[in-house]
């Protein structure tokens, strides 16, 4: 039996020891002397969060199918173990072999949200790997980042040796082969990194330099050597039916956040909402075939025994074969005790029918994401959902017995007026009125329950709204108060519950989202001051962060409230995501003119992304047209 890295006396005194002992169903075991490349995959958050991530399951499966490669996992130790590891000087270890992370050849860290950055430093620190790439020695692992936050890697660029830009399925074999060659021929770390930079999708931060203008904006960003590409191109899987996808996903003992079989039905999105980063960075839309998904559903249910299955994608209602897929899954598995949990679907006759089959109407709720309170602001953000569509969906649902509605909004959008803000309350009230007008008293299943939530808008790189300015904390809170106030004026205020997200986290996320290399100093300061698990509101300490920035001499306002000109050079402009900056500018102007852009199925807007997959022609979905 393998030996654990932690002794009995530690495991008996920490919360959920099963986070650290491995041996989960479908865990891959390989003798360490049978492989020549060890890759440790990390999700920098607690086990239950990290184990819920589909991307790691896909890459874990992919790496372990490669000859001579062993992929293991590591997650952030929870506070209790973190403390013990520091006190007793225990190095962070891989779950599978229980050996130190530092013994691996690669440490791959997925960056799913900005607020995990101190956890990235924790992982490096506990692994005894130097935090800065420049301080690493020959026997340190190559630290490689990936995931959505790497689309602006600059605030954390100095902590990573490589960023893999785009989808992981395409270039890892090449990268690992290159590594093997280098190892065999005795090449040094920096020689390997130089060669890695020649592989499509690989960004090696140490090979680039930035210069700044006097006002602090970026002046230039360029490679230090001629053989290093000026721009790094995002990688995409061209054919999603002919690629890696696990048949035997890992099944944790303890309950994970996402504790079910996940079927990823498509990548990309045709909608073009102007605030949405996922909507641009995953372009172009690519669907998986019905046959592929049916087979994977069966294999995964058989191999895991899960009693629940869910679909995953952006805007799932746009998937061409949605109705066939859902009908198949419900007909074949619902009767076998498998609960098919639905993604948020556009509310119409079809989705209501499906919901009726798999959910308890009395308990389930309808979800709408209008994002903006008025039609005007919805045109600015290109959110195609109209009041008419919402009310029509709600009408059908109320007649079907539903009486719980969730509404999602954003505040702090560019051009926003009080009217747009108050629209949140007015729309919520209209939905409540519709219910009371439509359903006679004796047929009502109690009061209607409307929960309206708002988050504060954060401009993200590679979106048409990347030029937008943010606000100060007090201004955000004032906006939320205005909504609350307006809700209280409404006729049906007792049926409406209004929640809003924290404003201080928003500011920080905003800084990281559009930050440059200078920001990294503040992250190191915050970590050294004890910031950790910032994505957890219980542990987030805004005051510490303010001090960390102050100590680094960085003005957060520069990244948040400053107005950016259309010709400003952004820190992330060297990344080529397929979507052109010209298109983003066009869309920014359309936003300012409140002009709606049709979705990709209706008309191609020439964003540029089709070239990544369709070689000079427009996307297949556009050719086939809307439904």
């Amino acid at each position: 039996m393998r030996k654990l890295a932690l002794s009995d006396d530690i495991l008996m005194h920490i919360e959920k020891p099963s986070r650290y002992i491995g041996n989960e169903l479908n865990m891959i075991v390989k003798p360490l002397d049978s492989v020549d490349v060890r890759f440790c995959m990390c999700f920098p958050d607690v086990y239950e969060v990290g184990m819920s991530h589909l991307g790691i399951q896909i890459l874990y499966d992919m790496f372990n199918k490669m000859d001579g490669v062993y992929c293991e996992r590591v997650y952030s130790p929870w506070h209790d173990l973190d403390k013990i590891m520091r006190e007793r000087d225990i190095p962070l270890f891989c779950i599978e072999s229980q050996t130190p992370v530092r013994d691996c050849d690669f440490l791959g860290i997925t960056l799913q949200y900005e607020m995990c950055y101190t956890n990235v430093l924790q992982i490096l620190d506990l692994s005894k790997i130097p935090i800065y790439s420049k301080d690493r020695k020959e026997d340190d692992p190559i630290v490689i980042g990936g995931g959505p936050c790497s689309y602006n890697p600059e605030p954390i660029a100095e902590f990573f040796d490589i960023f893999y830009m785009g989808e992981g399925e395409t270039r890892y074999q090449e990268l690992l082969d290159c590594y093997r060659e280098c190892k065999k021929s005795g090449k040094r770390r920096e020689e390997f990194l130089r060669l890695a930079s020649h592989i499509s999708g690989m960004y090696v931060p140490s090979l680039y330099e930035c210069k700044y203008n006097e006002d602090g904006t970026l002046k230039s960003f360029y490679p230090l050597y001629d053989d290093v590409p000026k721009r790094v191109k995002k990688e995409v899987v061209k054919d999603l039916n002919n690629t890696y996808y696990p048949d035997k996903p890992l099944v944790p003992f303890t309950r994970a956040v996402q504790d079910r079989v996940v079927l990823e039905i498509q990548r990309g999105c045709i909608r073009g909402c102007r605030f949405c980063q996922a909507g641009t960075i995953y372009r172009p839309l690519r669907e998986r075939s019905l046959e592929f998904l049916k087979e994977k559903a069966k294999n995964m249910l058989d191999s895991t025994g899960y009693e629940e299955m869910t679909l995953s994608s952006l805007s799932s209602s746009d998937y061409s074969h949605l109705s066939e897929l859902l009908t198949f899954l419900i007909d074949n598995y619902h009767s076998k005790g498998v609960n098919v949990s639905l993604p948020s679907l556009r509310i119409d006759a079809f989705s209501l029918d499906v919901m009726n089959k798999v959910q308890d109407v009395r308990k389930s709720s309808l979800t709408f994401a209008p994002e903006g309170g008025s039609q005007r602001i919805r045109n600015v953000i290109n959110k195609g959902l109209t009041e008419e569509v919402i009310l029509d969906g709600a009408r059908q649902a109320f007649l079907g017995g539903w009486n719980k509605v969730k509404l999602y909004f954003m505040l702090g959008l560019p051009t926003e007026t009080d009217e747009d803000i108050e629209g949140i309350a007015i729309l919520s009230d209209k939905i409540a009125r519709l219910y009371y007008d439509l359903i006679p008293k004796e047929k009502r299943n109690g009061k209607i329950q409307i929960v309206a939530s708002s988050s504060f808008f954060i401009p993200k790189p590679f979106t048409p709204l990347q030029w937008a300015t943010m606000l100060h904390k007090e201004d955000y809170i004032e906006k939320a108060y205005k909504v609350r106030h307006k809700v209280m004026e409404m006729l049906n205020q007792r049926s409406i519950k209004y929640n809003w997200h924290e404003a201080d986290v928003t500011i920080l996320e905003g800084v990281f989202a559009r930050g440059d290399r200078k920001v990294s100093k503040a992250i190191v300061n915050a970590y050294n001051m004890g910031c950790l698990y910032d994505a957890w509101s219980d542990y987030f300490d805004y005051d510490k962060w303010l001090k960390a920035f102050e100590k680094a001499g960085i003005d957060m306002d520069f990244y948040t409230v400053r107005e950016r000109s259309l010709d400003e050079l952004f820190p992330w402009d060297f990344i080529d995501i397929g979507v052109t900056k010209e298109f983003l500018k066009r869309e920014w102007n359309n936003a300012m003119n409140e002009k709606v852009t049709l979705n990709c199925a209706e008309r191609c807007s020439g964003c540029g992304a089709s070239d990544l997959v369709y070689d000079g022609t427009i996307c297949i979905r556009t050719r086939e047209g809307g439904k």
Binding site: D9, S18, I21, N23, Y306, E307
Partner: protein
Amino acid sequence: MKVRIKYSKTGYMKYIAHLDMLRYFQKAIRRSGIDIAYTDGFSPHQKVSFAAPLAVGMQSLGEYFDIEVNSSLDEETSRKLLDDTMVEGISVLNYKILPDNAGKCMSVCEASDYFVPYMAGEISVSDIQNIVDSFMSQNEIVVYRKTKCTEGEAEVKKYIYDMKAMEYEDYDGNKLKGVYMMLATGSVYNLKPEILAVKMGICDEEQAKCNIVRLETYRRDDEGDFVPLDVYE
């Protein structure tokens, strides 16, 4: 049809909590293809009930739970089907189709026996037997006991059904010396082995929590004798 499953949980699987074991077996049953019965209602769940929960840190060679099935293959084939889906450290030892009048494992369970390793230094088996003999020769054995409803001193000698020195080979093949004890378990009276182990000085509380092995769980048959939970004539 009611079925009793016996399983073992050894090595590091002692760190898997009782509720997680429950979820683990629900999935395992689905993987095995056993024709388990589901409850009616909007979200049907498997008809499963577990016997005495095992504390985190304790290993066991004799854990039980009951399931209800619509149909069943023969006992050994079914046992193997389920055992083939296990992870290292958990084994399915028996699949026993129960007589109709068998009570639930939770309510019939009355005793368990344990191996408690001697951890207070080098010692011979005969010296351990001496410790046991002198401990059991007391007229009363009073321990401090804490349960959900009561807390305080309690006389527990009548709940110790057997005790003697024992040698035991663990999952890594190490030969351990220690004490065998058979104690009252279940809803009527539950005596924890770690309390006696500490009292006898064979290990401290911390050691007891992560080194004891439950060997078997028992019910009383019609004659009043203890038989393992999966033994029915």
